[in-house]
Symmetry: C2
Subunit: 206 residues, 2 copies
């Protein structure tokens, strides 16, 4: 029961922080939304920072879980999985009305300079996703899906990093276009001769 | 004198918001740092939102001013100007110990979902920088500096957007590498055969 309550506070807090940011989210607000009695916060967490670090773990786990169906889909090639991941998130943000963005990217922007423990944990989380992309790029290379030579670690980092910028643009433009443009540019770099689904209309100009 | 005081509040507030974010910055904190008597805030601003909108205008103007020396340097080609802009900001963030990032991008991330007036103004500011890049890309095309055909408006958007992601990565990794990698990938796209300063060691692997 205690763990259930702790998990409920974390999950509820994560939802609020995803929308409003860390500093703008109050502990009391989280407890009320979670239906947990006031004053019990410090039974579960040392302080707001400790709570925030648990929330980052929650987001990290949540994102990796979201990638699983695509990663475990044996019908997809390695580049097909990269496309599947990007499509999954493009659909997700369409359904979310272009709001919130990536919780790990948001907290990186908000907290990167202000809290070293947050920065370290966020950096590790970003690195995990980059490693997944790198593994897929290495697979694509050995399967001869990649039509150009590249440093797969750097390309993976660029894909993850550039995506975070596209999410910021999505939030202010309230449009899916920056995400679709990101995907198109990534695939232009991975298969510059357009070998990969050249004819596909990605809807940027729709 | 009144305008001086108002400008001082805006400039001081901009510095604090650049580092800490909008919600985490208190009005009282700004007035103290600006050396302005408590209580005078509402003489100059309707509310914190009104103050925030003035701060965005300040950032917007500040960034455009920073681009001027490069834009007015007649010794540079169009692609040389794009390189000059990126180098200018890479040097700036080295000197700032990889902190703060782009104030317009930060506020876009923090406020894009929470305040429509902020979102509109931020979007306009991002658009201005994209237009500058687009103008340079168009110039580079007509000067035959670009070795590939491209939609210059989309490429300009991608350069600006991807840069914002690189700044987030810089903040959590406390490293200039994401910005240098961004520049390299941008120039790989602009001159894929490496025509533009192919031999230059950008220090990513240093």
């Amino acid at each position: 029961m205690k763990q259930d309550t702790k998990d409920r506070i974390i999950e509820t807090g994560a939802g609020i922080i995803h929308h409003k940011g860390y500093h703008h989210t109050g502990i009391q607000e989280v407890l009320s939304a979670a239906g947990v009695p006031k004053g019990s916060f410090y039974f579960y967490f040392k302080n707001k920072e400790d709570f925030g670090l648990h929330v980052i773990d929650y987001f990290d786990h949540f994102i990796l879980q979201m990638l699983k169906p695509v990663m475990e889909d044996d019908s997809l090639s390695a580049l097909g999985k990269i496309e599947g991941i990007l499509d999954h998130f493009i659909d997700l943000f369409k359904n979310m009305d272009y709001q919130c963005g990536c919780p790990i990217g948001n907290l990186s922007q908000e907290m990167g300079d202000l809290n070293e423990a947050f920065g370290k944990k966020l950096s590790e989380s970003v690195e995990k996703v980059a490693k997944i992309y790198q593994g897929l790029l290495d697979q694509a290379r050995s399967d001869r899906e990649l039509t150009v030579d590249m440093d797969t670690a750097e390309m993976a980092e660029f894909i993850v990093t550039s995506w975070q910028g596209a999410l910021i643009k999505m939030k202010i433009n309230k449009s899916i276009k920056p995400l679709v443009l990101h995907k198109r540019y990534v695939f232009n770099m991975l298969t510059p001769n357009g070998a990969y689904k050249k004819e596909k209309n990605d809807g940027v100009n729709a």
